[in-house]
Amino acid sequence: MRKIDIAVVDYGMGNLRSVSKALEHVAPSKNVLVTSNPDDIANAHRVVFPGQGAMPDCIRELDLRGLRDAVLHAAENKPFLGICIGMQMLFDHSEEGDAAGLALLKGNVKRFAAADMKDSGGAKLKVPHMGWNQVYQAKPHALWQDIADGERFYYVHSYYVQLEDDSLTSGYSEYPSPFTSAIAINNLFAVQFHPEKSANAGLQMLSNFVRWKP
């Protein structure tokens, strides 16, 4: 059986090269595998669960590849990092396409209400929420190590997670209201922003993940 340090879950939705390249950059000695094989995920020491596209499609493609159980098992048992839709899918339900999620965590994924959103100067806020926004750390965590509170990360999304249990919130941003942008529970950490596209701050977070011993 081959040794896999970090498995990046590939369910056929878009650009995973960014995630794997960024992991290889921060951990050149580690074996990073982009995979759609459930056995690889079961064997990996760490799992990254990225995501792009629409949530109903992501869930469908995940199931088509028989990856659901392997992802859920990893999310409860080994260092696990969800990114963007990979965070949203962990929850009960999404307004996007009225889709059921993996229901590992309690909460719903909701769309930003563009029509009602203004910044402090009264200017219209756009949806998707696209670009660099500040992330405030709600509580200390190994993945925030050497990252300043309020550091900017890159976002691109139209939906956000509304948690049932706010104690899982590890970080949040404002657009214009505060929304949860990072969650932490046991061996699981998940973020709405894209650390693989967030320059040095993002690379620091990935480096923290690679060394994380929950």
Partner: protein, 255 residues
């Protein structure tokens, strides 16, 4: 504090090199693409846009190779445009490491392609580039042009922007063909009209000659991001200087 306005250096690439023309004439070599991309990343660029202006289809594959190299060294969002004709082109660019793909002429010739690409890969990676010119012979002010500004389409740029957003574009790159290469500033009335008409972000492009033009693009034009090429390529200003200037004028940026 909230979302930062973005500064996006644009790299026109042909045969692997960054070039910059003046009104599409006299292409000057500005250097190696990967080196320039890394330099802008170091200066704090928020994203990078690559426009493949390679004329012959023989050398089109080169851009994939370059994006692969950039994506393994530069960890900020990368947009690639130029010669994107079908959904398969989008897939190839995303697989090479592009985060977004910009669609221009094809969006006019075949709008369904925008819808297909957005539903296949998500709106977040589909940018529609709109080249617009001020016209006098139409019931509207700005007309969409294709083929590098040579072909009129009869389309109202503002209405076209609304339609592209409806079909699934995640962002619009609005270039004023009247201003491109002139260094007299963005066409802010055009950008403002489009920004007010759609909910998705817009990138202002065409005409930047100094840092005040970037400020005006945000404050007057309502741009969510500003794109510039020549002011950065030849060392007139660094991206960092541009950001500091925006910050001094009360615009939120990532410093």
């Amino acid at each position: 504090m909230s979302l930062a306005k973005r500064i996006i250096p644009c790299l026109d690439v042909t045969n692997g090199r960054v070039v910059k023309g003046i009104n599409f004439l006299e292409l000057r070599d500005a250097g190696d693409t990967v080196e320039i991309a890394k330099r802008y990343d170091d200066q704090g660029a928020d994203e990078l846009t690559f426009l493949d202006i390679t004329a012959s289809s023989d050398n089109r594959g080169l851009i994939l190779h370059i994006i692969e190299q950039v994506a393994s060294q530069v960890f900020i969002p990368l947009t690639v445009g130029g010669g994107v004709r079908e959904v398969e082109d989008v897939r190839r660019l995303l697989n090479a490491g592009a985060d977004k793909v910009s669609i221009n002429t094809t969006a006019v010739l075949n709008p369904q392609m925008v819808a297909d690409a957005a539903s296949r890969f998500g709106s977040q990676c589909i940018v529609v580039a709109i080249d617009a010119k001020k016209v006098d012979n139409q019931p509207f002010q700005w007309e969409v042009f294709t083929h590098g500004g040579r072909k009129a389409t009869g389309l109202d740029a503002v209405k076209w922007a609304e339609y592209m957003a409806k079909l699934g574009a995640g962002e619009l790159l609005v270039t004023s063909m009247d201003r491109d290469g002139t260094k007299i500033g963005f066409n802010n009335p055009l950008n403002r009209a489009i920004s007010d008409a759609v909910d998705i972000p817009i990138i202002a492009s065409g005409g930047v000659g100094n840092l005040q033009h970037l400020v005006d693009g945000v404050q007057q034009g309502g741009a969510d991001a500003v794109l510039a090429a020549s002011i950065f390529h030849y060392g007139e200003y660094t991206v960092k200087q541009a950001k500091e200037y925006l910050a001094q004028h009360g615009i939120e940026v990532r410093l």
